[in-house]
């Protein structure tokens, strides 16, 4: 509060910095996060490698098996942390304090999810390190900008879904029990570790409603020697468009949470 003007000055940066720092510290000190970020994607990639060896190939498809494993690690980490953070808040009684604090619930969850995605990048970076240094995979120089844009689009997709899931968990208590419906089924629907064309045609409408499906397709396309830019632009634009739909739904969920509190008159109704 400024004494001279009497106007409240809100600088969100200290809050954002602190929240990111706390989230990263919590993840860094958690064995569960280590399992999600490093161990589980490594197991999936190793299975892919073994399957390729069984089929008589000397090396697996690096983009799908190794980079796909990194995306899988990011996804698992984000989906579990988005849910478990709210679970822990609810269990420790801090969810009411967050909802009732002057900083909006959406801001808190958005920054948290962003921090979780930053942590999830460990998995993605490791997959790049393995592909480039262990398997000597060379990425043509002209593809670099497209890969970076594809990664940014994919991260935005992750963030929008993460914020949506966190709000969904606050709005509904039973959703946490259905986490197993999300982790692997979404990984399959978004085709993290295999070409999207393998999915049966009747399920593609569901895949298309997930921004990650478009983000992953764009990322895979941006690694190809012969880039088809029109397709790439279409993937990016669709991914961003679908992400915004999730953010719009998130906005309504946030309003629903606040309405719930107003109607019941109790913070503990969340």
């Amino acid at each position: 509060m400024s004494r001279s003007s009497g106007k409240a000055r809100h600088n969100p940066l200290p809050f954002i910095g602190k929240q990111i720092s706390i989230q990263i510290q919590m993840r860094a000190l958690s064995v569960f996060s280590f399992g999600l970020l490093i161990f589980q994607p490594a197991v999936f990639s190793t299975v892919g490698y073994m399957l390729a060896r069984m089929a008589g190939k000397p090396a697996p498809d690096l983009i799908y098996v190794i980079i796909g494993g990194g995306i899988m690690g990011m996804w698992s980490s984000m989906v579990f942390t988005s849910f478990f953070d709210i679970n822990n808040d609810r269990r420790h009684g801090t969810l009411e304090l967050i909802v009732g604090s002057p900083t909006s619930l959406t801001t808190v969850l958005a920054v948290r999810t962003f921090a979780n995605i930053l942590t999830g990048m460990v998995s993605m970076l490791l997959s790049f390190v393995v592909v480039i240094f262990l398997f000597k995979f060379t990425i043509p120089l002209r593809n670099h900008p497209y890969i970076i844009v594809s990664l940014l689009v994919l991260f935005f997709g992750f963030w929008s879904i993460g914020v949506f899931l966190a709000h969904f968990r606050v709005a509904s208590r039973v959703t946490g029990q259905f986490i197993n419906y999300l982790e692997l089924p979404v990984a399959i629907l978004a085709a993290f570790m295999f070409p999207f064309e393998y999915l049966p045609r009747w399920i593609t409408w569901l895949s298309n409603s997930i921004p990650l499906r478009w983000g992953v397709t764009g990322l895979n396309a941006s690694f190809q020697q012969e880039l088809i830019l029109s397709n790439l632009w279409q993937d990016w634009a669709t991914s961003i468009g679908v992400s915004f739909i999730y953010l719009l739904v998130t906005y309504f969920l946030s309003k629903k949470v606040h309405d719930m509190i107003r109607v019941t008159g109790e913070l503990s109704s969340v």
Partner: protein, 128 residues
């Protein structure tokens, strides 16, 4: 002696049943379905698609491997999550400090998961 023995059996079965029900939050059937059917099926499908990418024509090896994974997942995860739940809800110290004998209490927490693992395996085998 006989009364004591029957008491331990009762304790064993009751603790097995309640810990199992608590694990899946059995107020509704959804979580159980998600753990027992949705997750294993999704895992199997993911590996089948990965096998197809690798060039494996026959997914039988992947299907059998995934089915064999089920009882171990039940045994290891079910029991460890149950005990972890006791710690989270701070009931573990009370459990340890209670006069009830520990062997039936803790063995009971594993019994149902073993039976359940076998049932899951046979269910998924018939489905496959």
């Amino acid at each position: 002696m006989k009364k004591n023995f029957l008491g331990n059996i009762r304790l064993y079965l009751a603790s097995a049943w309640y810990s199992y029900r608590a694990l899946y939050a059995w107020q509704s059937f959804g979580p159980y379905i998600s753990v027992k059917i949705a997750f294993p099926l999704a895992q199997m499908l993911l590996f089948i698609f990965m096998g197809r990418l690798a060039g494996l024509a026959d997914p039988l090896y992947i299907v059998i491997g995934n089915i064999l994974l089920l009882p171990s997942t039940n045994g290891v995860m079910g029991v460890s999550i149950t005990i972890n739940g006791e710690r989270d809800f701070r009931t573990l110290p009370y459990l340890i400090a209670s006069p009830a004998p520990r062997a039936p209490l803790f063995l009971g927490r594993s019994l149902v998961h073993i039976i359940d693992g076998l049932l899951s395996t046979s269910w998924h085998s018939s489905w496959a």
